[in-house]
Point group: C2
Chain length 362, copies 2
Amino acid sequence: MRIEDLDTPVLLVDIAAMERNIARMAALCRDAGVALRPHAKAHKSPDIAAMQIEAGAVGICCAKLGEAEVMAHGGIGDILITTPVIGASKLMRLVQIASQARVAVVADDAGNIGEMAQMAQTAGVKLDVVVEVDVGQRRCGVQPGEPALALAQHIRGAEWLNFRGLQGYQGRIQMTGGYAERKEAADAATALLVGTAELIRAGGIEVPVLTGGGSGTSAIDAAAGGLTELQPGGYLFMDSRYAAIEWNDGNRVPFETSLSVLATVVSRPDANRAIVDMGHKAMTSDGGPPVPIDLPGAAFAYGGEEHGELSWDGPCPLALGDKVLFRPAHCDTAVNLYDMFIAARDGEVEGVIEIAARGRTQ
Amino acid sequence: MRIEDLDTPVLLVDIAAMERNIARMAALCRDAGVALRPHAKAHKSPDIAAMQIEAGAVGICCAKLGEAEVMAHGGIGDILITTPVIGASKLMRLVQIASQARVAVVADDAGNIGEMAQMAQTAGVKLDVVVEVDVGQRRCGVQPGEPALALAQHIRGAEWLNFRGLQGYQGRIQMTGGYAERKEAADAATALLVGTAELIRAGGIEVPVLTGGGSGTSAIDAAAGGLTELQPGGYLFMDSRYAAIEWNDGNRVPFETSLSVLATVVSRPDANRAIVDMGHKAMTSDGGPPVPIDLPGAAFAYGGEEHGELSWDGPCPLALGDKVLFRPAHCDTAVNLYDMFIAARDGEVEGVIEIAARGRTQ
């Protein structure tokens, strides 16, 4: 079956391009001697996580506990939960997963660590804990230096907790357009994390893992060598925004765009416009509008939740029933609308990849 | 169980407020002698559709075929599909549903109508067809007047198709702030549809149904009397944007806000800010950011896909683990992120309502 014969809107992944991206990031990290722990929030699929691990990743990251539950259930054996897990009900679920897979979780609060220690002891499960440090993202995390040291000591003091290291993610710089500017900011973020690790080590505490980084800074972080583990997610699919940044001096973009949504022209109201069956419910807009592929001169605008509008200055070249491919501006949230990827190779449908953790925001 | 004890982020519906909204819209239409066919794209739940029909609705609208399949499977017996169904594969699915429920579909193209006629004949199923007219939305639909008449004649000429009437929906004016301006625009849209119906009737063709309208113009449309059937969806939950418009001269807002997302504070990085576990994957942004409820002085900003940030000029009044309710700016797309509503009454959890058609964009 050709992709053009699929009912639409449908989420497509160019499986060959995705496989190449998986191999490239694995090689990039292997060559730099840094561990790779891809972020599963991008794909939410245990099947793809398994492909990443097969290619050399040490494990995966999950943004949420619910995602981690699906991954553990799907056979993924090493998981880092990259946002704090708060409250008794969720901590109970956390120790549950920790009995199925090796699970580490970030923390940035002494009270949370105390509750976690108690829950781990009650369940008789050892938990790995990573201190989240704010390296400039201004989201979760304690400040670098003394505040992080205090939490590390707190974790060390808890019998059932194991201090694994530090996480520092600077999400704000991942899509900085200019390479030099992005490199300066990435190096500054890593320096904060490395400095904090040195402070903790000076107190006699081991810091095995410094984890962080994203797709946009992956090559920079791998070369810089401060982080021991990278967490890129988007390299798998490459948002249209990622493809637009300056990757290095020669701007050799190291990854391929592999994700698209196929839509159908469902109305041709006048000579210059076509309406497609893809609106906000089939394509998220939080990263900007999607980009029509191979359709020169076409401008896209959302037509509400169920429709999109393509317009031209000149005549519209599309007929009713024609299929159009769109590139998401933000792949992670677009994937989260769908229950499955259709995997295609050279335009031929190869199979279905379940997005088993779709909607697992808890 | 209290809602505060739920794991978050979670989609809540205040079931008493929703029931009152259902009753109010039913009464508004009954009093005006106009049929009510609520749009199920808002809730995507056969259970809620059944409540609307129980309260007096003649049936429901669906935006997509996949939604209609779920509704028919869930026992809903009368469905209008409000966007064109294009292509052989989808038309085959359409005649399939038409054998389970009374199904009407809109069309705005002669070729599509021809294919539909053939498919209906092959399946031995009679299909009701409604001509979609562009009354100012500039999306799908033929122009009012002669182009609509030509399609009506085309449908009448097909043995297995039944011409049911006209659809005209002016979505652009639903949230026009001023009442007088909105009323003028709504009346103008209805006049185009009524004028077209008169033209068709003059040719000896019956036009049983004039369907259209939305929540924002519902009171205006019911009073004006041109439409025979109203299609409001959002009145069930009331977007924060709907609650802000001038409904009539005295601005008595006729419906209550009933939908919210509950989130948890997962980090307190500094004195003025709290980070919650609700980002783009738990709350859509296409209608604007969500509004924190009962939290004076708080400003909300998205912190990516998984986080939200609340900030204050003064000290943040929230502690780690505190729960915060948010009102969606666009309920329809927010609902489409979740697999279920948690129904609550006076803050007490009453049950679960499955969002069975979530993600059914095909």
